[in-house]
Amino acid sequence: MTKDDGNKAMHLSRAIQDLVEDGSHISIGGFTINRNPMAAVYELIRQKKRNLHLYAHSNGQGVDELVGAGVISKLEIAYGGSGRFAPTCIRFKKAVQEGSMAVEDYSNFQMTLRFLAGALGVPFLPTRSGMGSDILARWGFSKEVRSSDPKLPDKKAVVMDNPFGDWAETSKVVLVPAIRPDVTIIHAQKAATDGTVRIKGLTFADVEQAKAAEHVIVTCEELVEPDDLRDNADLNNLPPFCVDAVCHVPLGAYPTACYGYYDYDPKYLKAYAGFAREEDSFLGYLEKFVFGIDSHERFLALIDPEQLKNIEADPRTGYAPNLDRT
């Protein structure tokens, strides 16, 4: 996959083409309205990927667009919302209510631990979260579905007595199974051609999601030489050998935020919520903003340049102060 010189830079469309197949199990980074790998989300939709199994925690906008476009057949998730713009993600809500997509519910911490288990190479991790809840009592994927898919663990979770007595004042624990995606896609502020990744601000669960996956695609605001990220390795989040493809996509998280670079676009997100409400308007939206064009660059050309200016982050705060967010 990698060239002999270790250069992993490639066009996003090629990375998606080469690494994601119909039926792949994927996960995407980011959180609600922040650092979703939106350019990659649009590329997945544009390439008409089908029957993907998607793992997310509280990824909002990316999940909703993938679900709305019919890319996802199974979803494991903790939270489908985009803050004030869509307290419950709209196409997600419709798909679940219509039964067009199977959903397995976990909590945010449980999903995080499941990614961490994948990253650590263990089959499960224990937590004290969720005992007594329907998250444990009710399964979204039946036993039959689980046992028929070798990429799924045969149980949603297991409650077990503490084998160390009451050590750590704990009588029981919940074991949650590892997630092992075929591909994880994240968006970072900086990446080097060798695959080194530097995220600015909160990492959410991106690092665990990436390490859990067999393949990793990173889109980035700035593509730099490996030497440039060795000046302060304390700031780096993924080593080269975790990453397969590095794709230079400025504004690649738009319309979600990218700390230190740009804010989320309240106008776009509000307009999206309008489009998403009805089937027809949503299809029109996809036609115009995804299928009608062939790259993230062209997508950005559809956005009012004035608004792209408005959401530019100021260096002091990392976001766009006094942005009109009503």
């Binding site: 004030r84 945010n108 004290r128 979260s129 809840s133 750590a168 665990e208």
Partner: protein
């Protein structure tokens, strides 16, 4: 003095926050409550978000816990893992106050934020747990913001997303959950507590101008109203902090 019920709710919660507290904030009014508390009475309280932001300074109100505004001048930019671990960890977790919301609540403070109707064929789908089930599992004291409506205060939640006192009494302990659990419910009309022994909800205080009967009329189950007093009105200072320093754009106050 005029003020909205949202303002009363935010102030009522802010008053509960102390300097040593670590406040877990969700989206919306809970952020305002924490922001207000830092300005009013608890400058050293720590505001933190499940996204990993610890000690956020919040110059502007975030519209989601993933809003880049939560990252401004934090003490630490961690990860989801760090923030939930901080709650599950008993040394740090014991200082955490969780602030939650939900679509449904029952008399033991069990919360539903997942579906209305049957889980397999839901009439309405909501966002799901997010970190709510985790917070409810780990945190010794949680405050729950609710709208006071019959369809929200229900005998039995359609889906138990976030464990409260479960069936009451010592049920939490038997299930393996941490001691502590739902502490207070703050609605647009009143504040409810939970009985020390039975863990059943009771009316703790009505907002000014609201009677216990008003509250009961807007719930799907009856609660003890004998212990109720009246919440003091927001002061001018509290209101001006809320309006001028926390949410001048009235993004959350409306």
């Amino acid at each position: 003095m005029t003020y909205t019920s949202k303002e009363m709710m935010a102030v009522a919660a802010a008053r509960l926050i102390q300097n040593d507290d670590i406040v877990f904030c969700g989206t919306g009014i809970s952020m305002l409550a924490a922001m207000a508390a830092k300005h009013i009475s608890a400058p050293h309280a720590t505001i933190f978000f499940e996204t990993g932001a610890i000690g956020s300074q919040l110059e502007e109100v975030p519209l989601a816990v993933g809003d880049p505004r939560v990252m401004y001048r934090t003490a630490m930019n961690g990860s989801l893992l760090d923030s939930f671990a901080c709650m599950q960890n008993r040394h740090t977790g014991k200082h955490v106050i969780g602030i939650l919301g939900a679509a449904q609540i029952d008399r033991f403070g069990n919360l539903n934020s997942t579906v209305i109707g049957d889980y397999d064929h839901p009439k309405v789908r909501f966002s799901g747990s997010g970190g709510a089930a985790d917070v409810a599992s780990f945190v010794p004291r949680s405050i729950i913001f609710m709208q006071q409506e019959k369809r929200k205060f229900v005998k039995k939640v359609d889906y138990l997303t976030s464990p409260g006192w479960l069936g009451g009494g010592r049920d939490r302990e038997a299930a393996g959950l941490c001691q502590g659990g739902p502490w207070l419910v703050i609605t647009n009309m009143a504040i409810m507590g939970f009985d020390d022994t039975s863990k059943e909800m009771y009316l703790k205080a009505c907002f000014p101008g609201v009677t216990p009967d008003d509250v009961l009329a807007n719930m799907g189950f009856a609660i003890d109203i004998e212990r109720a007093d009246v919440t003091p009105e927001p002061t001018l200072r509290e209101l001006s902090i809320l309006r001028e320093q926390c949410d001048p754009q009235r993004l959350i106050l409306g």
